[in-house]
């Protein structure tokens, strides 16, 4: 919870065109990406977005296909907001926030056809590769959506399919076909700002996450919190997301 004093200070700064940490409204915090940090995973990445730290791991195993896509691999995404990451996270089954996070990251990957699931078929109708994407939040300082999405995409680029271990041939690198990047903005008063810090996120009225691929097309969107956006604001956010997304994409590739 933010004190009124802090909330008023953030709003006053915003009205003056400023942010608490001195960033511009369309500026992200420093992004650090480290691949291959979990050797028991098929692919992994640790992302630091400012002080927000998320680790994403990819595990793969053969399994059954979904009945309506008998020739395709399966993607399942889960997020854990572990209590060590924030005094506000509790142990137990995934909270609505964790579930929303996992589903939004999942949609960004799935809808952009980042992975060609047809290439992950082993025996049609019987056996396919199941790809488990596990988002493990380690330090929560705002904007889990972007940190997790960057981590997920990066972990996929680091993934080697463990065919050898399951006696299904030689290991091969997972082919990443598209590069969707998610950008999250929040609205405080009448000001829109990109990559909210923890305090900005807590003070925000509304939040919008936009996932854009390398062709500039929108692949996923999610609006959160209980405030509202005008259509112009949404268009403006899409525009910023496209520009900033391009820069972030270069860091991941």
């Amino acid at each position: 919870m933010l004190s009124k004093i802090k909330r008023d200070y953030i709003c006053q700064l915003a009205a003056d065109g400023k942010r608490m940490d001195g960033r511009k409204f369309d500026e992200t915090r420093e992004i650090k990406i480290e691949k291959g940090v979990a050797k028991n995973a098929e692919g992994s990445t640790r992302v630091k977005l400012g002080d927000t730290t998320v680790m994403v791991g990819v595990k793969m195993a053969p399994g059954e296909p979904y009945p309506d896509t008998q020739d395709s691999g399966v993607l399942t995404t889960a997020a854990e907001l572990i209590p060590l990451a924030s005094p506000t996270f509790e142990s137990g089954p995934p909270s609505p926030i964790a579930i929303e996070l996992a589903r939004v990251v999942d949609r960004g990957i799935r809808e952009s056809k980042t992975v060609d699931f047809k290439k992950l078929c082993i025996t049609q109708g019987e056996k396919v590769w199941v790809l488990f994407l596990d988002i493990h939040v380690l330090d929560y300082d705002g904007n889990l959506f972007d940190a997790s999405s960057i981590g997920a995409l990066s972990a996929l680029t680091d993934t080697v399919v463990p065919a050898n271990r399951f006696e299904l041939g030689e290991d091969f690198k997972l082919s990443v076909e598209h590069y969707p990047v998610s950008c999250t903005s929040v609205k405080i008063g009448n000001t829109i700002m990109l990559d909210p810090s923890l305090d900005e996120e807590t003070a925000a009225d509304a939040r919008l996450t936009v996932s854009i691929d390398e062709n500039g097309d929108i692949r996923a969107m999610q609006k959160g919190l209980n405030g509202s956006f005008t259509l112009d604001e949404i268009k403006s956010i899409i525009n910023i997301s496209k520009i900033k997304g391009d820069r972030i994409r270069e860091l991941i590739k």
């Binding site: 791991g57 595990k59 889960a78 209590p83 060590l84 005094p87 596990d134 380690l138």
Partner: protein
Amino acid sequence: MIKDGRRSDGRKFDELRQIKIEAGVLKRADGSAYVEWGGNKVLAAVYGPREARPRHIQNPARAIVKCRYNMAAFSVSDRKRQGPDRRSVEISKITSEALEHVVFTEQFPRASIDVYMEVLQADAGTRCTGLTAASVALADAGIPMKDFVSSCAVGKVDGQIVLDLGKEEDNLGDADLPIAIMPRTKEILLLQMDGHLTIEEFNKAVDMGMNACMEIYEMQKDALRKKYRGD
């Protein structure tokens, strides 16, 4: 697995794997530590003292020390499902008990000191790695303690007592003995054993383990001093 007086990874019988300890690595937690030990990667964090919730678990005379050991889904070869399994629950219990012994809990009635050990990559000996990290995290959080808790495991491979089992040695060996001590007094705060040891072998193992714990204690102290100097 033992050839010419060396183990399968080239180590001597009483040699530890490479250990790296870093204190104060998280922003939100009150105290934290990250340890890389052989192929283990464990992150420990402390929140507390803070109000114990739910209220009915509060102890009016002292703080409750609650340790939660958890493995990330991608930390092991066969993906681990979310949520505590029986092994995690047991490890959480015995590590809570070890840490509770050293913390001055009477200074914080009705509070809880929450310790989290998160295994990001597992390579045998995760509970010792976690406990070693947790102890540093507690000091980093400014929690009053009698002493550190330093932990290590000893085992038996091919009839030989060896220090700090690797994954292969743990799977194929004849005994596994994790131990944790308070370095100043050498009191034993955690002790488990499974396998087969003669009394003589046990004595040798404990001796080896306790010496190693003293080495680890030096590393724990160095990590905190280093953090302060870099402050």
